[in-house]
C-alpha cells in the first residue's frame, strides 16, 4: 500500500535540492501509563533536509526520536517510511532500514576502542557467518578489510585519526560526541537522528559539530533530524523546524516562520519584556 504520492520537493535558499517525503509521522500519540508524552502529532521529513525538533525540557522531543528509531511504540498513529506504513519492529530491524542515531547522553561502548565502536556501526554491511569468522579466512577477513576502508574514510572526515585505537573511556566529552556521530555515519544511514549533538560543548566544539552536520548533509545527502537547545544553531542549520510543547506540536515551518509564530514565542522563546 503506497501511501504518499511522490512530490517534487523544493530548493533551499542556498541551492540544495530537497526531495519528496521520506518519512511521515501521522497522528502519533504516546502514553506512559497515565502520562501523555506525545499528543496527536503529525509531521513529515523530506529527503535531504535538516529537520529540527525543538521545545522546552519534557516537551517529548526525545520520545519522538525514540519512536522514529523504534525504541518506543506509539499507542496511536502510524510511521510511514519510504511510502509504506511501518509495522511494529524491533530497534535493530529498524536500524537495518537505514535509520541511525546518536544519543543525548553518550551511548558509546566504553570498553572498546574508537575503531571498534565505529566498526560496530557497519554491522549491517558485514555478512560473514560464525564459522567464517571463526577461521578468519576468506570472507570474514575480506569483509573486515573492506569495511575498515570505509570506516577510515569516516575517521578522516571527522578528523579523529589520532584517537582511532584509544579506548573510548579515555576520551574527553567533545571527542566522544564526535565518535558517536562517526558510529552513526558508519552505517551509511538514509536518515540520521541526532539527539542534542551539541549539548555541553564549548563554542569551538559546537562550530566543529555544526560544520560536520552540514558537511554530512552536503556530501552524503543524509537526511538529518536534529534535537537541539541552542537556538542560534537550530535556526542556522535547519531547513524546517517542528516546535513541541507539553507533547503537542505548536509550530512547524522554516526557521523564519517559526521564529515569528506567536504561540512558539509565548511557549518557548519567551515573551519580550517591554
Amino acid at each position: 500500500m503506497r501511501d504518499i504520492q511522490a512530490d517534487d520537493g523544493y530548493m533551499t535558499a542556498d541551492g540544495r535540492k530537497i526531495g519528496g517525503v521520506a518519512m511521515e509521522l501521522r497522528n502519533i500519540t504516546l502514553r506512559f501509563g497515565g502520562v501523555v508524552a506525545i499528543k496527536d502529532i503529525s509531521f513529515d521529513i523530506r529527503w535531504g533536509e535538516i529537520r529540527a525538533i525543538i521545545g522546552p525540557n519534557g516537551a517529548g522531543k526525545s520520545s519522538m526520536l525514540n519512536i522514529i528509531s523504534g525504541f518506543y511504540h506509539p499507542q496511536e498513529g502510524d510511521v510511514i517510511y519510504k511510502g509504506f506504513k511501518r509495522p511494529r519492529m524491533r530497534p535493530y530491524e529498524i536500524s537495518r532500514q537505514g535509520i541511525a542515531r546518536t544519543f543525548q547522553n553518550i551511548a558509546l561502548f566504553e570498553g572498546m576502542s574508537v575503531l571498534d565502536n565505529i566498526m560496530t556501526g557497519r554491522l549491517h554491511h558485514m555478512k560473514a557467518n560464525l564459522f567464517q569468522q571463526a577461521i578468519w579466512w576468506g570472507k570474514a577477513q575480506r569483509e573486515e578489510e573492506e569495511n575498515r576502508a570505509q570506516v577510515e574514510k569516516i575517521i578522516d572526515f571527522l578528523e579523529i585519526q589520532h584517537i582511532r585505537k584509544t579506548p573510548v573511556a579515555r576520551l574527553p566529552y567533545g571527542l566522544k560526541k564526535r565518535v558517536e556521530l562517526a558510529r552513526a555515519l558508519a552505517a551509511e544511514p538514509a536518515i540520521l537522528l541526532l539527539d542534542e549533538p551539541m549539548a555541553g560543548m564549548n563554542v569551538e566544539e559546537k562550530e566543529d559539530m555544526c560544520r560536520f552536520i552540514l558537511d554530512v548533509n552536503d556530501e552524503f545527502g543524509t537526511t538529518t533530524v536534529l534535537i537541539e537547545h541552542d537556538m542560534g544553531v537550530v535556526m542556522d542549520l535547519s531547513d524546517r523546524v517542528v516546535v513541541m510543547d507539553y507533547g503537542r506540536k505548536i509550530g512547524d515551518g522554516t526557521p523564519d516562520e517559526v521564529r515569528n509564530n506567536d504561540e512558539v514565542i509565548k511557549a518557548y522563546l519567551g515573551v519580550a519584556h517591554e
Partner: protein, 358 residues
C-alpha cells in the same frame, strides 16, 4: 629497547589489525609456540604433566570459554562446572556408544552437545541480566549435576555411579585411559588449546566479537545500532559452552580418567573457573591463560617452596597455601581490579616508551 613499534610500519589494514602488532611480541609468541610444541614434549615427566601442565591446559580452555561469556558478552554465569559435566558425560556416552569413533571427534561432538545445552540455559539471559542471571545459571548447575548423578542412563547403569574413560588411541598412541603417556596427554590437550585459543581470538576480533562487547557495554544502544540481542547472547552462550564442554571432555577423558558428576564438576569448579577469568582479566584472551596459570601453577609452586625448599610439614603447608593464595588474589585485585591482563597491558604501554617516556 627491543620492545618498540617505531619503524615498524603497517601498510595495509590486515597488518594493522594483526594479533601481535609489535615485532617483539610476535617473535615471543612464535618462540613460546615452538617451545610448547618442540621442547616441552622432550622434558615433560609424569609429575609435571599431572600436577601442573595438563590441568593448566584444560582449565585454560574452560577459562577461555567463560571469558567469552562473561568478559566479552557480559553475561554472568555460575554454571561452568555443570557445563563441563555435560562435556564429560557427552564424551562418555559417545565413547561407549560408538567405540570406533576417533577421540578427536568425540571431544568436538561433546563440545557441540554442550553448546546446545548452553543455549538452552542461556535463554533466560534474554530477559534477565547481572546477578539475577547468575542465579538462573545456578539452577543449571544444580539441575544438571542432579541429572547426571540420579539418572542411571547417563552413567550406563554402572553400580558405582562413576563414569570411566576407556583407552582411545590417536595415530597409534594411547591418549586416554590408564596407559596414556604424559607426552601424549600433553600434546593432545595442547593441540586443542592452541586451536581453540586461535578460534577465540578470531571470533572476538570480528563482527561477532564486537556485537558481544556492544551488548556487554550498553545493551540498549547496541540494539539501536543494529545488534540483534537474541543472536548475540545465544551465540555467546553457544561458543562459550562449546569451549567449556571441550574442557570438561578433556578433563574427564584425558586427565581424570574416571569421574562422578557431583565430585568432579561441583559448584567449586564453577567458582574456580570464574576466579580464573576475574583474576586473569575479563575480556582478554591472554587473561584466560594468566588466570589459569595463577590458580593452577600458583598452589603447586607454593607447595614446592614450602615443603621441599623450606622443609615445613605437609599439613601446615597445605593450610598456609590456601591462605597465601587467598591473600594473593585479594592483593592482585586491589592492585589491579581488571586482572593480570590489565597489569600486563600497562607494563607493555610503559615499555613501548621506555626509556624515554615523553
Amino acid at each position: 629497547m627491543l620492545y618498540r613499534e617505531a619503524g615498524d610500519f603497517k601498510t595495509n589494514y590486515v597488518a594493522d589489525s594483526q594479533t601481535f602488532p609489535i615485532k617483539f611480541d610476535r617473535y615471543g609468541y612464535y618462540f613460546l609456540l615452538g617451545f610448547a610444541f618442540l621442547v616441552m614434549p622432550l622434558i615433560i615427566n609424569d609429575y609435571w604433566a599431572n600436577s601442573i601442565v595438563v590441568p593448566f591446559l584444560i582449565y585454560t580452555i574452560a577459562a577461555l570459554g567463560l571469558n567469552i561469556l562473561i568478559g566479552y558478552c557480559g553475561q554472568l554465569s555460575l554454571g561452568t562446572g555443570a557445563f563441563m559435566a555435560v562435556g564429560a558425560y557427552a564424551s562418555y556416552k559417545l565413547m561407549t556408544a560408538f567405540p570406533e569413533l576417533n577421540i578427536v571427534f568425540v571431544v568436538v561432538f561433546a563440545g557441540i552437545v554442550t553448546a546446545a545445552v548452553g543455549v538452552l540455559f542461556g535463554l533466560p539471559s534474554l530477559r534477565i541480566k547481572g546477578f539475577y542471571l547468575a542465579v538462573a545459571t545456578l539452577a543449571a548447575q544444580f539441575f544438571l549435576i542432579w541429572l547426571f548423578t540420579r539418572q542411571p542412563w547417563f552413567y550406563n547403569y554402572s553400580p558405582t555411579g562413576m563414569i570411566s574413560a576407556p583407552q582411545r588411541e590417536l595415530f597409534g598412541v594411547a591418549v586416554t585411559g590408564p596407559r596414556a603417556s604424559a607426552v601424549a596427554m600433553y600434546m593432545f590437550c595442547l593441540c586443542f588449546l592452541v586451536s581453540l585459543a586461535w578460534l577465540a581470538r578470531n571470533l572476538t576480533r570480528g563482527t561477532l566479537g564486537r556485537q558481544w562487547m556492544a551488548i556487554r557495554d550498553m545493551d540498549i544502544a547496541a540494539e539501536i545500532i543494529g545488534v540483534n540481542p537474541l543472536m548475540a547472547k545465544l551465540t555467546a552462550f553457544a561458543v562459550s559452552s562449546f569451549f567449556v564442554g571441550i574442557a570438561g571432555a578433556l578433563l574427564f577423558t584425558v586427565y581424570l580418567g574416571a569421574a562422578e558428576a557431583g565430585e568432579a564438576f561441583g559448584i567449586d569448579k564453577s567458582f574456580l573457573v570464574l576466579f580464573m577469568v576475574i583474576i586473569g582479566g575479563l575480556g582478554s584472551i591472554f587473561g584466560a591463560f594468566a588466570g589459569a596459570a595463577f590458580l593452577i601453577i600458583g598452589p603447586v609452586l607454593l607447595k614446592l617452596l614450602l615443603v621441599n625448599t623450606l622443609g615445613w610439614p605437609t599439613d601446615l603447608a597445605a593450610h598456609l597455601e590456601i591462605m597465601i593464595i587467598g591473600a594473593l588474589i585479594l592483593g592482585f585485585l586491589i592492585l589491579e581490579p581488571h586482572g593480570i591482563a590489565a597489569l600486563w597491558r600497562t607494563i607493555k604501554e610503559k615499555l613501548r616508551l621506555w626509556p624515554f617516556p615523553y
